[in-house]
Symmetry: C2
Subunit: 658 residues, 2 copies
């Protein structure tokens, strides 16, 4: 085992922060904007709620970060929310978290890419008509990169993430300093008014509360990805838990400062942004031709001196880059979670083995396809996509905090040392607060977003949950059915082997199959052909004698020109006559190099093999004949993504047993 080698790849904190935090930090790029967009439904009248909503989001972020620091300490194995919930609340609750997370990974890709494209369009407005195409192009590029198994490196993440954090902080400080000096930057949209949407004009009472809560729900996107560090504890250097907790704290503080700064500047520079540009007043020119820049772009332009300044372009570049990186984290996280679920038999086996060529490719492709469909269906609109997003995040937050409360209950029952009991008590209080607060947010999100599209995310999670339960049940039933009950009897081998070589024409593959079958020296050997054409069958018999083949050839007439049924019926009749023997059927097969050549060969053989496998007491042997074209295609399991990612194996160690 090469687990020792893994040490080299362990991450110091300064690399772990960008690797795990690109997702949560990048959400700063859209969280403020989403708050403003919802509030703008009521015109400019309700923008004064923004600071309060931002404050609530920051408070929530603090609670969640503190809660997850407990998780990091209690579960250094890095199973994250899924492990915490499965262990403490049972496997079906864990499966709810898993389903939510799978949906969320898809949404991370869709939202991050859509927002990245938004920021590119803010810098290059002429790309606006190609929004969806650009987004799908980025997903395709990420897919290709991940399918090729490019080694993901902390360093690749570090530069853009730190540049993004640094750039945003410089922007915030510059903006605030300019403001303090009395030269407050002014956004390009500051002069525009916003007319309220007809349904949201002059709200009061409950309706107003709902609008504010919706804005808060949208702002909660700032919290997406916070749990990433808790999944990645094993990748930290020792002391793992302490380092992870410290990184989590650093991430929390950075996110809060950036979010607060961006929100403050958005209000200072008077960014006026709306979901429907035609509700803007004071526009020169047609509203449908006007492309609104993102909040971060408008701030950058205002602070650094316009949309042609170097500072503006730099901020837009790093923002787009960090958002694409955030999407990339889902491409790593999704197959990993799928692999754990497969290990627990909730998903097909083949998703588990890392070395299996299909494992990661399938996961990556599934993720990419669903993300592209979402981007296409929702026209790469960040706001529409976000409605589907945070539901899963808060489901897993709430359940994992609940799980942690049970965890501490259990610990407290077993613990007698007063100091440790005190610690556990504090931790339980933190997680209880976390559970209550995130649960409350979950209810708010459900209530405000369900009809806006969140129902789709709920439906997807429910379908996944039911499917995974079904798969697990199937595997369990199968395992019971296959368990060895009586090894002695089951190992007793049949007394005689009756071999049948299937012959369609007399060519080299047939002769090889005959030779191989004879090499096994079965108790009885015969060749079998189905005659669908009397002349062809006669010619076959003639050649059979000419070549002096010493195996008897049996000809079955098939007046209806079927092949499969007569063979299967013959094999069954042989089995019926000698039920204690086994029948070995040899099928000559061509091996071809190009996929389309398979359509031209072996189709009857495949169908026949498939049917024969249903017959008890039969074994089916493929005797391959490699056509010339097959030689090119023979690269033994070469390009498996996992193998590239983990470096080429330098030979395999053989061990003998008995």
């Amino acid at each position: 085992m090469r687990s020792e080698e893994l040490h080299e790849t362990l991450l110091p904190k300064r690399l772990a922060l960008p690797v795990f935090a690109s997702d949560p930090l990048s959400s700063v790029a859209y969280a403020t904007q989403e708050i403003l967009l919802v509030l703008a439904l009521g015109g400019l009248a309700y923008l004064h709620f923004a600071p309060w909503i931002a404050a609530a989001v920051i408070a929530l972020m603090t609670v969640v970060v503190l809660s997850y620091r407990q998780v990091v300490h209690a579960y250094p194995s890095g199973g994250g929310s899924y492990e915490v919930v499965s262990t403490n609340l049972g496997p079906w609750a864990g499966l709810v978290v898993a389903a939510s997370l799978l949906v969320d990974y898809v949404m991370t890709v869709a939202v991050s890419v859509a927002s990245g494209v938004d920021n590119i369009i803010s810098a290059l407005p002429q790309l606006a008509p190609h929004r969806v195409l650009l987004a799908i192009g980025f997903v395709a590029a990420l897919t290709a990169t991940n399918l090729r198994g490019v080694r993901e490196s902390g360093r690749a993440f570090a530069a853009p993430t730190y540049l993004f954090v640094g750039g945003v902080l410089i922007m915030v400080i510059t903006g605030l300093v300019r403001c303090a000096l009395g030269d407050a930057p002014v956004a390009e949209s500051a002069a525009y008014g916003i007319t309220a949407a007809p349904s949201d004009a002059g709200l009061t009472g409950l309706a107003l509360l709902m609008l504010v809560l919706r804005a808060f729900s949208s702002g909660c996107t700032a919290l997406t990805g916070v749990e990433a560090i808790s999944n990645g504890v094993p990748a930290f250097r020792k002391p793992k838990s302490a380092n992870a907790a410290a990184t989590l704290a650093a991430m929390g503080i950075t996110a809060v400062v950036m979010f607060a700064g961006v929100t403050a500047l958005a209000l200072i520079t008077k960014v006026h942004i709306t979901g429907d540009p035609c509700r803007l007043t004071g526009l020169t020119g047609s509203c449908s031709a006007y492309t609104q820049r993102t909040v971060i772009a408008q701030i950058a332009a205002a602070v650094f001196g316009g949309e042609h300044s170097l500072g503006f372009y730099l901020i837009q570049t790093v923002t787009a880059l960090v958002l694409i990186l955030a999407a990339n984290t889902a491409f790593n996280g999704f197959p990993l979670l799928a692999s754990i679920l497969a290990q627990h038999r909730f998903l097909p086996h083949q998703l588990h083995n890392r070395g299996d060529r299909l494992a990661f490719s399938n996961g990556i492709l599934a993720l990419a396809i669903v993300a592209c469909l979402l981007l296409w269906g929702f026209k790469a609109n960040v706001t529409s996509l976000i409605h589907l997003y945070i539901l899963g995040v808060f489901t897993s937050f709430t359940l994992s905090q609940l799980g942690m409360v049970r965890h501490w209950n259990g610990e407290l029952r077993a613990e007698h040392d007063p100091a440790r009991r005190r610690h556990h008590h504090t931790a339980r209080v933190i997680n209880t607060i976390g559970a209550v607060v995130t649960g409350l947010v979950l209810v708010i999100v459900l209530a405000t977003k369900f009809t806006q599209g969140a129902w789709l995310a709920v439906l997807a999670a429910v379908v996944l949950w039911v499917m995974m339960r079904g798969i697990r049940r199937h595997y369990d039933t199968t395992a019971t059915e296959l368990a060895v009950t009586d090894p002695k009897t089951e190992l007793t081998f049949p007394s005689r082997v009756l071999a049948i070589v299937l012959v369609s024409t007399l060519h080299k593959p047939t002769l090889r199959a005959l030779a191989y079958a004879r090499a096994l020296r079965p108790d009885h050997l015969e060749a079998l052909t189905v005659s669908v054409d009397r002349d062809e069958a006669a010619a076959l018999c003639r050649h059979w004698e000419e070549y002096g083949i010493e195996v008897p050839l049996k000809v079955i007439d098939s007046p209806y020109r079927e092949v499969t049924r007569p063979v299967v019926e013959y094999v069954r009749s042989v089995r019926r006559e000698s039920p204690r023997d086994i029948v070995a059927v040899f099928i000559p097969e061509y091996v071809v190099g190009r996929w389309w050549e398979n359509l031209l060969h072996n189709q009857s053989a495949l169908w026949l093999k498939n049917r024969l496998l249903f017959t008890p007491g039969v074994m089916v042997t493929s005797v391959p004949w490699q056509l010339t074209s097959a030689a090119h295609a023979d690269r033994p399991a070469a390009r498996a993504p996992g193998s590239v990612r983990r470096g080429e194996p330098r030979g395999t160690g053989l061990r003998h047993h008995r």
Copy 2:
């Protein structure tokens, strides 16, 4: 062989006519209309060309029918145009005909169904918005019927076809009699004027000639399906050729009478029909809301007393029915032609065997899918679809007449009896006229329709032609590569068999695989497992000893958790060490009953098997274990469409050879 049984299914002339002629006779339902639609591009000014164009079509029909009577006599085997051309002009020319015919079968389905829907909408105008859906629904229904392999019966064809012929003839006679009595029926659209399309107003000279030729090309749709009888000669009662020729003549006369009658009545009743209803003048109400009835519907309404008369509904019903039946003929013809092409190795083998479950289903599905795409893409518009149609028909007409000319040349060279020579000379003259005339029409159709959509049909035929050539070349190369050169050496069997049983877990299927492998008494037997998890491997070894399995177990470490590569490499190393022996790899496999269960099992096994087949000197044996769910699915090749169509086989006859 049951060929004798076939006699019962041979067709008397009165049944052969409806079976083979539903396609050509049904085209009467749209041929006149297409002539009028093209002429109406120039307003009402050019409608007086219609009788002349109809006369030209009738002359052409006469020539073609006479020509095909020669084909029927010369080629009683029923290969039709494809056989005639392949035999006389060489296989590549034959392939041109085959490609054209395949394209034409698709067009027959699309055009007939679209026209059938048109006639249904004429009776029930409220269905107009659902035109495409209706058309696709009919294709789906035909597909389902044909996939289930419902026995096609002459009787099912007889009633609607004769009712259609009878109905149209009664309508024509009634109309003409009323006209003679001075009570000429008047079509509902007689009062409307038609403004010329801007590009086609006041044409003279060459442009007018082109318009008339275009109208003629569209009218030539009356000839589609004429060659059907020449493909079906073997299905006639004896004397086959004479009966077929008589039926062909009857069909030709019926078609000519119906076509002439419908065209005459269309002109008498003054049916004014146009491709764009907004060019109609004198409409009450909006043109976009006005649904034009088909020509046959307008005549029926005029003759029988309005669009609520019984006669009108009867005519529409039988017209729609006969058009759907015409589409059904393509569902029979397409797989049959594909099967002949497969026999000649121009298409994949599996399309050849009738008994193969996949053979006919694939052909039927391919036909249906392409037809639906066309109906959808062209909005089930008959006129647009017809532009793609007749090109293939006339390609095969021209080439087969050319082929017949060469055929008679050959016959004349060998023939010395003066009476027979005279007959051959006459026949050659007829076919020469046929070739020249149809060749001319082909040029006209190409010139007038190419840019209107016919290029798509040409492109499709070219692609098919290139593909079929490629497939044939591949099969030829393969056959050369596989041909037996030295049977003695090729039959020499290797001295030793080294057997390897692959083990992943110790359950019943593994024990069975071990037992079967031991039953074959190989020279060397070992079990092989790949250790991706040290604990699991240790547990496996422990159970191995507990169960007292006497086969040595080899454990390969796979530090990168791959499975396929270590196994393939190990097998290769075994082969390298003893290159004269063969390696028999035994893979325990589950057999499951539901398709999705396959996704949960055997995926690694499948991949591994696939890779192992590329290794020379290896044979791969699947040892199946039937799970409970497999028992339900074990219906041995039951529902093959061919088997139902031909009646259930009553046992298979076995013959022994040597």
